[in-house]
Amino acid sequence: MALEQSVSRRRLLQLMGGAAAVGTLAACGGGNGGSSSSGGTLKVIGAGSQEAGLRKALDDYKKAHSDFDFNLSFSPADQLQTALRAQLAAGNAPDLHAVYPGNGSAMSMVQLSKANLLADLSSQSWTQKIPTGFKGAFQQDGKTFIFSPGTSVLGAIYNKKAFATAGVEIPATWSELLSVCDKLKKKGIVPIALGAQTPWVTQLIDYALVPGTVYAKTPDFDDKMIAGSASFADSGWADAMDKYLELQKKGFFNDNPNGTTYEQATSMVGTGKAAMAIQVSAVLQAFRAAAPSPDDLGMFPFPATDVAADNWIPGGVVVGIAVSAKSKKAEQAKKFIEYCGQPEVVNAWAEAVACVPVYSDGDAKVDPVLTSFLPYLKDNKAVPFMDQRWPNAEVQPTHFAVVQELLGGKTTVQGALKKMDEAYRKSA
């Protein structure tokens, strides 16, 4: 009988009233509070890791040039891929923006210059000073497209107090490293903090190991990969991943690395709860900020093998800046980059982001914790970060994913490397 009185959908919607509508608006609305640049100013978007150096360079340049002004914002690495790339696609890129050196990411110099999105900087005098070994990071088809202040090294950032508590010294070989980790663990200190929930952190231990397990024996490995005569699966990459897993199986990482973030791992090392984190020198400042005193932290090359001579280091050109090819203020932006190319500016920027200047007039001040890395750079035992020579933007994220799968026990080393080989062979 009464079922005929069922509530109609229209009536139901009326009854739902304003609360639901408010909820919908609040839940689904996505105000992004966009940024705007005032007229006449240079719009600049930088990567978070370059903030200290880029901001100082811009401030100093503005002080010396009263007609110059800028609107500066920063994005973490993953957001650069979206926000900046969307602006590039829409043709409204900032005048000056962060670009990754070499190839291997959707925001890399090679990928963007191929799409004619970057202005040619080759006519600037500083480009002549780029060391031959680093030209691939700055140049495509003989033209220079980015400025970067120098090279960041990758190794173990360690807490000196934690090492002292366990009575251990800096290890020089893989066996010594395992022994150090064992002693730290017995003292109740997490030997290595790993925040593998943050995708880019997953790659760092492999990057620290493959210079020793791959490039020390096969320096032309990248050329062989490009030629198709080598693969990840049949190379020292397998040794590196085996060692990565060995560290996990021996309990030398914090519990649940896949659920731990970069920030949590940073805090663990800063506070001495963990002894080490395998990281790039560019993030030293974040670790120092997490420690009671900046002097609590040091850094050393991460040993990959038991043969000291084979223990090469990863050292890559850090994220740089480039001028948008479509910028209406390209000349103004280029003048700023020319200023950045002066050795004293290179030194100041490099010091601010804890990297080694790309070239120097002899007055360069390198962060003291990096001194143990300098002989490797001098002896050509530094290998650029691996992704900088990968042919497309798919290999690196695949590497992130397979490492998480390895740590989660969802794949094998060979399965992981096979996926990376498949991604590598896809077209650029």
């Binding site: 509530v7 109609s8 909820g23 799968e405």
Partner: protein
């Protein structure tokens, strides 16, 4: 006045009166809105859909026509097929559990208890918080450390053995994300069910009670059938929400660990903005749009027929 009124009548476009009392305005009135819709929605969608047949990287002008290669790749791509599986799992979990909890909450606060208004506000509160904020909040709750978040709470009540790596365990992460979505959106379902319950005539329950019907019988034979329109709306909204889930996943797991929580939405995002394959990404988006439309169409057909029979 008379002349003016006559002129208006003469020039007026025909309008018809509906049985319900309202008037049906002529289609001409819809033209400005349709034009704006065409310009803002249809044109970009159609132009964008064209990219699905190209190898465009998303930046620059270089692109070439590749026919249906992107679609062929999609159906042989392990990552995309895994993402489809995850999408369906999440959708089923969200539709069933969110609406189940939403219904229970609605029934609970539709009673005469004193604090019902306060409870309604409390249960609805998570809905008005940004999904990104909720995701970061729960990321904190899901901290895998034994002395933090949910694990610490489990420890405190003597259930330490149930501690988990909530977002880092590939087998568990997807359910952790689903729980977060359900926690946030159950209040939304509650409001819709509550609206439905408000429309159920009290005299029906009274007469059923006089006839000796118990609580369960009254729910089964009166409340549930009369809630059919609310069920239709809730199921529809949660299905579309589940199939297109993106924000919470990107904010909490970024599709990981590995590919364990990737959905079609995160795959299309990564293909476009991380891998630089805008063409392929658009193909994924097209398939997702067609899939969502098809599921919604079938669903609404079934649920409407249920309303009619009720």
């Amino acid at each position: 006045m008379t002349i003016t009124a006559q002129a208006v009548r003469r020039d007026a476009v025909k309008v018809s009166r509906r049985r319900g009392g309202g008037i049906t305005p002529p289609w001409l009135f819809a033209v400005p809105a349709l034009l704006v819709y065409a310009l803002v929605m249809l044109y970009p969608s159609i132009v964008g859909a064209g990219s699905a047949f190209t190898d465009w990287s998303g930046v620059g002008d270089a692109r070439s026509f590749v026919g249906i290669d992107n679609f062929k790749q999609l159906f042989s791509d392990d990552q995309a097929l895994g993402a489809l599986r995850n999408t369906l799992l999440l959708t089923v979990a969200i539709v069933v559990v969110q609406n189940g909890i939403g219904l229970l909450l609605a029934l609970g606060v539709h009673t005469g208890i004193k604090s019902r208004m306060v409870l309604r506000v409390i249960f609805f509160a998570p809905v008005v918080v940004s999904p990104v904020m909720v995701s970061f909040l729960w990321k904190y709750v899901y901290n895998p450390a034994p002395d933090a978040g949910l694990n610490a709470a489990l420890n405190a009540i003597g259930l330490g053995s149930l501690r988990q790596d909530w977002l880092g365990n590939p087998s568990l992460a997807i359910w952790s994300v689903a729980f977060t979505v359900i926690w946030q959106c159950a209040g939304y379902s509650m409001v819709i069910f509550l609206a439905g319950l408000e429309g159920v005539p009290a005299e029906l329950h009274e007469s059923a009670m006089v006839d000796g019907a118990g609580t369960v019988a009254r729910f089964r034979h009166i409340t549930w059938p009369l809630l059919a329109p609310a069920v239709t709306i809730n199921v529809m909204l949660s299905t579309v929400g589940g199939l297109t889930l993106f924000t919470q996943i990107i904010a909490m797991t970024n599709g990981g660990p590995g590919y364990a929580t990737d959905t079609l939405s995160t795959v299309l995002y990564k293909q476009a903005f991380v891998f630089g394959k805008f063409g392929y990404s658009t193909a994924v988006a097209l398939v997702l749009a067609i899939f969502v439309a098809a599921v919604s169409f079938i669903q609404i057909g079934y649920l409407r027929s249920r309303e009619t029979s009720a």
